[in-house]
Symmetry: C2
Subunit: 329 residues, 2 copies
């Protein structure tokens, strides 16, 4: 009987998020995953950042737009029982190698119990590392959008930019611009200017935590003049974001509830610590039920779909402790 | 002459992102920042996770909804010249302590050159750590929304949920549910069901990388039955997300360009590696200019605002190499 092609030892693919590429910001597990590997595969720039950690190992450097090749090479070696680390800057799951690797594995008929183990080691993504250098821009709801239309139709990207500009998210733009792709960032600016103040703060962070790090603050209005490349992440503030003393801050809404004075962290009249705002869900439901307005009018007031308003109006209010406390104010 | 109240040594506030709370996933800088501190302040659960790293230090444990108190206590000590680490799970800039701390500092009249240094040490946020445990759910454009209406009006939250559901983002819900707040997750489900297939995969990840870790897959339709608490992050897939072999995968759109077969990573006919898709920005602009359709018709076709379509139609097409290659196909 001939032996099946199963390897004697179990191969492994380790999808490692390097964080910003400064070794101080590697997690212990990222470091040990690289140490554990026989082979390390990745984009040349990232390999260079961990050069001292890969001595003695097989190193496979790849260029941009070769993600599937990297995944295929990892799979070929893991099939032979090797441990292969595929490194991504930031987090492997965020515009990184995790997605392409699973696509390749599934196409090849791999299953989790077929002899190759896969582990993903999370890392801080560019939006977190860049944010940490400029202050507290992300504090509130945020999103990440890639301006790369190498793989995604532009209307899909435009639709997303439009939605988050309208709904007042803090927005991190990945892959904002390259030698070839220069129009997309201008389109993004145009879309945002439909909804957001031209003076909205924007942070341009290049090579975060690396030797050529640079940070520039600008505004939405002047975004097209900024020095932007593939090494940069662009952080666009929401309607409350401000810059003070060289720091970009997005408030979390504390001033809705608290007078933020030193020594006084008591809530404002009518609000309670640890309880939903009077404009939180239950308070809002009570308000709209009591308003006597039509779903269409309320949809306009709150800029929400009429169908949604109609649906919540058709459901009876639930009385609970929280409701009683708020209505009695 | 009486001495001014300037401390003899420069105080420091270190805003540390702990990542998921498993020490293997602390960065070297997070660990050294905690070691450097005289005092460590944080929510009791997070302090417990790093108990062995804080022996011999002053430890100030705080409860939920006491973020401003934590910031105030840090400031008071830093004014005395101490080094204070404020720890947050995940990343300090994502619904963490960075925002509240700067708010307190600014209210107190602090400036970056007034004697207290502030450093933010980034960490992997819950959306990244939870994603790493379920496969590759985030791969494409994603966002984070907090369902906590303790500080944010519900209409604002609803508007954001509506926008990202419409624009087909992968969505991470933070603070999805608590003892008091149970209606918000149901409202979120309702809003998503307006736009997304009821069978859309959802991952419920609790206590990622910690002893009581649990992962549950469900669907949008059954979301209200899932076991959700403040320890969970909810990841809602986009319209392409699927579950296979117990892994949640969001494709990056590679199948728009490549036939993902082992050994064949060549692009499909009409597409080129490293160049924008034929439906990328330049290709799309060429298409809509050539279509002869009105802005209103195109707005319907592409589900984009008519004003945006009208604006791009009014700008002349730029001819460049990339355009020529695509139009000649």
């Amino acid at each position: 009987m001939t032996t099946a092609s199963k390897p004697p030892t179990r191969g492994k693919i380790l999808l490692v998020g390097l964080g910003p590429g400064n070794q101080e910001h590697l997690t212990a597990r990222a470091r040990s995953a690289i140490a554990e590997a026989d082979t390390v595969i990745g984009y040349a720039t990232y390999i260079r950042l961990i050069a001292d950690l890969v001595t003695g190992k097989e190193v496979v450097k790849k260029a941009m737009a070769e993600e599937l090749d990297r995944a295929i090479e990892a799979y070929e070696r893991a099939k032979q029982g090797k441990k292969v680390a595929i490194v991504s800057s930031g987090d492997a799951g965020v515009y990184g190698m995790a997605g392409p690797t699973f696509e390749v594995l599934f196409q090849a008929g791999w299953t989790p119990d077929s002899g190759i183990e896969v582990e993903i080691i999370p890392g801080a993504s560019a939006l977190n590392t860049c944010a940490s250098l400029v202050g507290a821009p992300l504090t509130h709801d945020f999103c990440a959008i890639s301006l790369s239309d190498l793989l995604t139709p532009w209307p899909t990207i435009a639709r997303r930019l439009n939605a988050v500009a309208y709904a007042d998210f803090v927005v991190a733009l990945y892959n904002p611009k390259s030698g070839r792709r220069t129009g997309q960032i201008q389109q993004a600016q145009h879309i945002f200017l439909q909804f957001r103040d031209p003076q909205t703060p924007v942070a341009i962070v290049k090579s975060a935590f690396r030797p050529k790090q640079s940070i520039e603050f600008t505004t939405l209005e002047k975004l097209h003049e900024a020095d932007i490349s593939m090494l940069t992440t662009v952080l666009i503030g929401n309607s409350n974001t401000y810059i003070k003393h060289g720091l970009m801050i997005t408030p979390r809404g504390y001033s809705n509830k608290y007078d933020v004075e030193i020594g006084n962290s008591a809530p404002r009249d009518g609000e309670k610590r640890g309880i939903s705002l009077s404009t939180g869900l239950n308070g809002w439901l009570a308000t709209i039920h009591a308003s006597g307005k039509s779903a269409a009018e309320l949809a306009q007031d709150y800029r929400l779909p009429e169908a949604y308003i109609a649906a919540v109006l058709s459901e009876p209010l639930e009385a609970d402790d929280e409701d009683s406390e708020e209505i009695s104010e």
